[in-house]
Symmetry: C2
Subunit: 400 residues, 2 copies
């Protein structure tokens, strides 16, 4: 602190917005990896207090040993650390049901830029103790301090499955499917996958067997939890919406279905660097957003193919654009990303859902947030980090 | 702002910590009561955006018209306004299951002390958009700005009931009852009531009929929601813990059972001004807290009777002390409150759960929070409200 070196906190380095990448020469990277202790698990109260460097899977395994779970699922859970989850306000596949970082974090411990330690670690969720500065660090990506620990909620472990993979005609039908299944209870995951995504997977070495024909425009991966009813009965309320479908009959088949989802990103990267968009829109607007974004992309970037994937429950659409021809690197119109972001906001949503702002989206954050917000955030940044040493260039943008 | 008058935001004036009471002569009270619009309800996405002056019941009724509910229950919901709920980070009877203000609020609009408007109102829950300054206003009780609107989560409406009232031998048994019933699913409320509380109710004009004999040390009011199983079956997992019990057989009986809970506070006030404590401890520590707090109170304030009531699910114990003889005003040892607060913190909990800090508990907040927190909060207060005009004397304490 005395030397006034820029500091860049780093967790599991699984972030997708570059929040942990140093931008300023002479920056000190502060890795939390070795600060990975489980401080306390309260099995009755269902809370865990852990160091920031504890990975999502470590935490979940420790909870599992007591019949509980940390109900947060992201593909990178084996490496992603709690400090990073908190700092990016990460979401994931089950956030629509269990909440993302903001909802699951009860208390936070952080070192502020002047060396002060803030702590709201506690074993209870209900607390009205004045302003909770720790909450400001959720989503701050290390720009206001370094998260060193957190108390999080645990939930009762539920039995997993059944798991189904179905084909539907339209995005509207996929959203209606979600609504019908959610009303039935026990729905845990509902992931929308496009024909384009399935085609890219089909051509990939090591890809899982594709369970349905490739002639459907949209597919939905569905999983229930904690239910004792069998899968066929569970799909019944959505029968009219389903064109074709399979139910996993074994753990192997279940794994194969999930590998479709998990390898989707890798399948897209084979053709070159995809342009990612991480928007969230109200569920009622997913179909309209998807149609219009696809339209805009076709017109303005014909060399790029939309390969969207979405967490239907919380309207989080990863509207990624992938070079149509493998190996080519077509020029990309950056204004197109701005149009897609604008569209999300016009739909009542946000341009940044779960990956964070990092450096790449700082300009977009400033463009899209109300002017009052920028002014208020600048005041907070100035108060806590007057020398701008904390993760410079991220979220707040300017490298001045 | 230009005149630098102290401002005191005021909602439904149902607060229990005096947060809305002006302390400084010449203060301007800013009532949000006429700013009571419902801006938008998204029935598919299950969110509502409302003005701060909208009452809890108004919001819930509007949600109800669409088959949804704002799952927040406090006795004062008919008057309490959303702005106050947010500003005190209020909790209530169902917070253990559905979350309190912090968990239910998705976005906030507020006027900051310099007149800047902050807004994170949005129709989606998943958003990683940098630090959310609005989160800092949850629990700030108007000391950092005035909340003018909020986007909150709605949930599917569930059928209410069954409702039961049971007697148990010990607090341990009451907590075990909660655990057994919660595991069965559908549990919605679980309120612990003492023999002392029942006795005070018994002597009160207009009191509901008391459903069980008065010879039990503890009683629990239990309610389920969204379940189709009948009440007797639902109580079965806790059978061994129940000494006596009734199940409401009609809506009238259900209302009578709830009136026991609702009139509890009034019954305690008949004997004079109760000394209230609003602590939360981990569920596993409720029994130990209750025993020790009772012990301490007996020794140090024999003229005061402990009449605790608790939301078992989140360990929120209202450990209230009431003059033993109606009409007398025994001297109260204020250090006793400090001891009870210390005890909650030694149990891993907090001294302030759901009522807020207001003016009366500001000293306790400063005494019990880590020194780093006080320093960090002072920096934030200075940055946002350099002239100390926002609700002076509350939360941050000093009237300087």
């Amino acid at each position: 602190v005395a030397a006034r070196l820029p500091m860049v906190p780093q967790g599991g380095r699984t972030g997708l917005a570059g929040g942990a990448v140093p931008l300023v020469p002479g920056s000190v990277v502060i890795s939390l990896t070795r600060m990975d202790g489980l401080r306390e698990i309260d099995a009755v109260g269902r809370t865990a207090t852990v160091d920031a460097g504890c990975t999502v899977e470590q935490l979940d395994a420790a909870a599992g040993a007591q019949g509980l779970t940390f109900p947060f699922r992201i593909g990178s859970g084996g490496s992603a650390q709690i400090g990073g989850v908190v700092s990016t306000n990460a979401g994931g596949i089950r956030a629509w049901r269990h909440g993302g970082a903001r909802q699951l974090v009860i208390g936070i411990e952080a070192v502020l830029p002047d060396g002060t330690v803030w702590s709201s670690l506690r074993g209870v969720r209900k607390a009205s103790m004045g302003p909770d500065l720790g909450q400001l660090l959720i989503g701050a990506e290390g720009t206001l301090g370094i998260v060193t620990g957190a108390t999080v909620e645990l939930r009762r472990q539920e039995e997993t499955g059944p798991t189904a993979f179905v084909a539907v005609r339209t995005v509207e039908d996929a959203v209606a499917l979600f609504s019908a299944l959610e009303a039935g209870g026990g729905l845990d995951a509902c992931e929308l996958i496009s024909q384009a995504g399935m085609s890219r997977l089909a051509g990939m070495p090591g890809a899982p067997p594709l369970p349905l024909g490739m002639d459907h425009p949209w597919y939905v991966l569905v999983e229930w939890a904690g239910t004792t009813t069998d899968g066929a009965g569970l799909l019944e309320p959505a029968e009219a919406l389903i064109v074709d479908g399979v139910m996993a009959a074994s753990e192997q088949q279940r794994n194969d279905l999930w590998r479709i989802r998990e390898m989707h990103g890798a399948a897209c990267r084979r053709a070159g660097h995809p342009r990612q968009h991480d928007v969230a829109v109200p569920r009622s607007a997913i179909a309209a957003f998807m149609a219009e974004a696809t339209n805009v992309a076709r017109q303005r970037a014909p060399a790029w193919q939309p390969v969207p994937i979405a967490h239907i429950g919380d309207g989080n659409v990863h509207f990624d654009l992938v070079p149509r021809d493998a190996g080519s690197s077509p020029a990309f119109d950056c204004e197109l990303s701005a149009s897609i972001h604008d569209l999300a906001h016009r739909c009542g949503g946000v341009f940044s859902a779960e990956h964070g702002i990092g450096a790449a989206r700082a300009n977009e954050l400033h463009r899209l947030m109300p002017p009052g917000n920028a002014q208020a955030l600048a005041a907070i940044k100035q108060a806590l980090d007057p020398h701008g040493l904390m993760n410079p260039g991220k979220v707040f943008g300017s490298l001045a």
